[in-house]
C-alpha cells in the first residue's frame, strides 16, 4: 500500500520534562521539579493527590480530550467489585483479593492521575490465576459495567510454564477507569486480548502493566472498535533475561471517536525481545487516533531486539491520526532496534483494481480495510475472535457507507 505522509505527527523527543507531566513537588521537601531524563524515571504514584490536576497540557494528556475526562481524573469512582462473567477452564481460577495483597502493584504502578484515582478507589482486586503447566483459553465478558464512573483493578497471574489465552470482551455501557496488571511467570506463555466494543457513548481509560519473567513471553493485544473515548496505555517491563513481548493493536475510529494508546516497552534485562505493531483505520468527521510508542533499552538490556511500528489508514476527510515513536537506548550492545510509522490515505488505485474485477465499491473497500488490518487479526490466533472482528469491521464500514450516502 502506498502510504503518503498525511497528518502523522512524528516526534522523536526522548527527554521529557517533569513539568509537562504535571508532577507536584514531592516528599523530598525541596519543592524543586527535576527534569526527567529517561522514560523509566517518569513519575509514578498510586495516590492521585500526588499528581497535579489534569489541564490537558501535560505530555501524556495533551493529545486526549481531557474535558470529557474530569469525572475520571478528578471525580469520585465507584470502587466496588465490578460485574463480569467468564468461561471456565481447568487451571484458571478467579478470586477477589485485598488491595494489600503483595501481588498488587508488582507489575507496575500508575503514571497518571486517572490510573491513580482508580487504584485508590478500588476496594478489591480481581485475581485471575493461571495454574502451572496448564493450557487454557478463557473469555471474560464485561457487559454490565454501567453508566456510573467506576474503577476496576485486575491482576492476571500466569504461573511458570503455563500456557494460556485470556480474552476480555468489553461491551455495553462503560464509564470505566481500569488498572490491569499482568504477571508472566518464568517460561510462561500468555496472551491477553482486550476487545473494546462498547456502546457509542462509553468512556474507557486503562493502564495495563505487564511484568515478563525469565524466558517468558507475552502477547498483549488491544482491539478497540466501539466507544466514545478509549485510552488504554499498555506497558511491558521485560524484567528478566530472555523475556519477549508482542504488543499488538487494532483500532477503527469513526466519526467523533477518540482512540488512544500510549505504549511503553522497557528492556531491562539481557536478551529480551519486543515487537510492537499497531494498525488503525479512521473514517468520518472528527475520528481521532493517537499512538505513542516509547521503547527504552536500559543499561541492562544487552542483546535487545526491538521493533515497533504504527500504521494508519485514513478513509475519509476530517480525521486526525497522531503517531509518535520514541526510542531511547542506554547500552551500545543491542541486536537491533527500529521503528516505523506511517499514515496514509485510502488508495484509490486499489479500489479501482478491485472494481475492475467486478467487485462493487463497498465490497472493495471492505476487502482493502480488512486486508490492511488482517496482519493484526491473524496474529491473535483465536479463530472465533477473528470472525467476530471481521464482522464488526464490516459493520463499521457499512455504517460509514450509509452515513456518507445520506
Amino acid at each position: 500500500m502506498s502510504l503518503a505522509p498525511d497528518t502523522t505527527t512524528t516526534d522523536t523527543t526522548t527527554t521529557t520534562i517533569a513539568e509537562q507531566l504535571g508532577i507536584k513537588a514531592h516528599s523530598d521537601g525541596t519543592g524543586r521539579v527535576a527534569p526527567v531524563q529517561t522514560r523509566s524515571a517518569r513519575f509514578k504514584s498510586t495516590n492521585p493527590e500526588d499528581f497535579e490536576a489534569v489541564n490537558g497540557r501535560e505530555l501524556d494528556w495533551k493529545l486526549s480530550p481531557v474535558a470529557k475526562l474530569t469525572a475520571f481524573t478528578a471525580g469520585e469512582l465507584d470502587g466496588s467489585r465490578f460485574p463480569y462473567s467468564a468461561t471456565e477452564s481447568a487451571g484458571v481460577s478467579f478470586s477477589w483479593i485485598p488491595v494489600t495483597d503483595p501481588r498488587v502493584g508488582s507489575a507496575g504502578i500508575p503514571e497518571d492521575r486517572a490510573s491513580a484515582n482508580a487504584w485508590t478507589a478500588a476496594t478489591e482486586v480481581l485475581l485471575v490465576s493461571i495454574g502451572a503447566e496448564d493450557v487454557s483459553e478463557i473469555t471474560i465478558t464485561r457487559d454490565a459495567t454501567g453508566q456510573t464512573p467506576r474503577a476496576a483493578h485486575i491482576v492476571i497471574e500466569a504461573a511458570p510454564f503455563s500456557k494460556s489465552t485470556i480474552i476480555i470482551r468489553n461491551t455495553g455501557d462503560a464509564q470505566l477507569v481500569e488498572n490491569l496488571e499482568i504477571l508472566v511467570g518464568e517460561s510462561a506463555n500468555l496472551s491477553v486480548i482486550s476487545v473494546q466494543q462498547w456502546n457509542d457513548d462509553a468512556i474507557h481509560l486503562g493502564s495495563h502493566f505487564a511484568r515478563i519473567g525469565r524466558d517468558a513471553s507475552l502477547k498483549h493485544a488491544l482491539v478497540s472498535l466501539g466507544g466514545d473515548v478509549i485510552r488504554i496505555n499498555p506497558s511491558a517491563h521485560l524484567a528478566e533475561a530472555g523475556g519477549s513481548v508482542d504488543l499488538l493493536g487494532l483500532y477503527f475510529a469513526d466519526a467523533g471517536q477518540h482512540i488512544e494508546q500510549q505504549v511503553y516497552v522497557f528492556h531491562d534485562a539481557p536478551q529480551t525481545k519486543s515487537r510492537v505493531t499497531y494498525k488503525g483505520a479512521l473514517q468520518g468527521k472528527g475520528a481521532r487516533t493517537v499512538w505513542v510508542g516509547d521503547v527504552l533499552i536500559g543499561a541492562k538490556g544487552t542483546g535487545t531486539d526491538s521493533y515497533e511500528q504504527n500504521r494508519n489508514l485514513v478513509l475519509s476527510e476530517g480525521t486526525r491520526a497522531d503517531s509518535i515513536p520514541n526510542l531511547e537506548i542506554e547500552t551500545g550492545d543491542i541486536a537491533g532496534a527500529g521503528h516505523a510509522s506511517a499514515t496514509g490515505r485510502f488508495d484509490d488505485e486499489q479500489l479501482f483494481y478491485l472494481q475492475a474485477r467486478g467487485i462493487n465499491e463497498e465490497e472493495a473497500r471492505k476487502l482493502v480495510v480488512r486486508g490492511f488490518l488482517n496482519e493484526i487479526v491473524q496474529q491473535l490466533h483465536v479463530p472465533s475472535l477473528e470472525e467476530d472482528i471481521h464482522a464488526a469491521l464490516d459493520i463499521e464500514l457499512e455504517n460509514v457507507h450509509i452515513a456518507s450516502v445520506n
Binding site: 500500500m1 488508495d347 484509490d348 488505485e349 486499489q350 479501482f352 483494481y353 478491485l354 472494481q355 475492475a356 474485477r357 467486478g358 467487485i359 462493487n360 465499491e361 465490497e363 472493495a364 476487502l367 482493502v368 480488512r370 486486508g371 490492511f372 488490518l373 488482517n374 496482519e375
Partner: protein
C-alpha cells in the same frame, strides 16, 4: 457474437497545469474472436484508452461513445463494466496488502458470475490455470501482487483473464518485462482464453515479438491520441523496421 465499439472518443485528464486533452477522436470496433494490436510511441495515449474503457475515474470523457453490444459502457461504473464482460490487464497491477490471491480470485469470480463458484470445481480450475501459467502454488496464499516480480504480476493478470472469462480483454503492455519463456507462457494463456471463450482482444504493445505468439487480425498505429493508420499484421513489421517517425511528422 459481441461487439465493442468506440466512436470519436475524446478524453482529457486534470493535471496541475489544467485540463490536458489526451484522446482526440478514437474510432475502433472489435468483434468477438478478433485480435487488435495497438502500437504507438510513449505518451500517445494507449494506456489512457485502456483505462477509459475500464472506467478509471481520473480520465474524463469529453465526447464520443463506447458501447458493448449497443449498451452504453460510459454510463456503467467500473465494476459494472467488468461484470458486463470487459477486462483490463494492467500495465502496472496494484498491490493489495492483506488480501490473498485465493480470496481475491474467489471474490472477483463471485462478483462477475453473480454467485459463488462451486467450490470443488473452482479450486481445480484455479490450480490448473496456475499450473499452465507456471505459477507456483504458494502464490495462492500470497497477498495480491505484493512482492511479485514484474513478470509474476503479468502472469497473475492473465490468470484472472483465464478464470474470469470476460468477453473483451484489453492487455496493456502485458509483454513488457517478460523474458522469452515468460512471454511464451503468458501468450499461451491469452490464446487459451481466446480459444475457450471467443474473447475479443485489444493488445497494446511496443514490440512485435508478442505478435509472433498472439496473432493480430488488425494493427492500429496510435499517435497523439488517435489512430493514425490501420492495417493487417504486416503493418506491425513495418513499424518495427521504420519506427513511428513517419507518423509523428504527420501529427505535427
Amino acid at each position: 457474437m459481441s461487439t465493442l465499439k468506440i466512436t470519436d472518443l475524446h478524453v482529457s485528464v486534470e493535471t496541475e497545469q489544467g485540463t490536458t486533452q489526451i484522446l482526440r477522436g478514437v474510432d475502433l470496433t472489435i468483434n468477438s474472436g478478433e485480435t487488435h494490436a495497438i502500437m504507438g510511441p510513449n505518451g500517445s495515449g494507449k494506456s489512457t484508452l485502456a483505462y477509459t474503457i475500464a472506467g478509471h475515474p481520473k480520465y474524463k470523457v469529453e465526447s464520443g461513445s463506447i458501447t458493448l453490444d449497443g449498451a452504453d459502457v460510459l454510463a456503467m461504473t467500473v465494476d459494472e463494466r467488468a461484470r458486463a464482460g470487459l477486462f483490463l490487464a494492467m500495465q502496472y497491477p496494484v498491490e493489495i496488502p492483506g488480501v490473498t490471491v485465493t480470496n481475491f480470485l474467489r471474490t472477483a469470480k463471485t462478483a462477475i458470475d453473480g454467485e459463488a463458484p462451486a467450490i470443488r470445481n473452482w479450486i481445480k480450475d484455479v490450480r490448473v490455470a496456475m499450473e499452465s501459467l507456471r505459477m507456483d502454488k504458494t502464490f495462492a496464499e500470497r497477498n495480491v501482487n505484493e512482492g511479485f516480480s514484474g513478470g509474476e504480476k503479468k502472469r497473475h493478470e492473465i490468470l484472472q483473464l483465464e478464470l474470469l472469462k470476460p468477453r473483451f480483454a484489453v492487455l496493456d503492455e502485458t509483454d513488457s518485462g517478460l523474458d522469452v519463456d515468460a512471454l511464451k507462457i503468458v501468450s499461451e494463456g491469452v490464446n487459451r482464453a481466446k480459444e475457450a471463450t471467443g474473447l475479443g482482444i485489444l493488445l497494446i504493445t511496443h514490440y512485435t515479438r508478442i505478435l509472433r505468439y498472439i496473432k493480430p487480425d488488425f494493427v492500429h498505429v496510435f499517435v497523439n491520441g488517435r489512430v493514425a493508420e490501420e492495417g493487417g499484421p504486416e503493418l506491425a513489421d513495418r513499424l518495427e523496421n521504420e519506427g513511428y517517425d513517419r507518423f509523428l511528422e504527420l501529427a505535427v
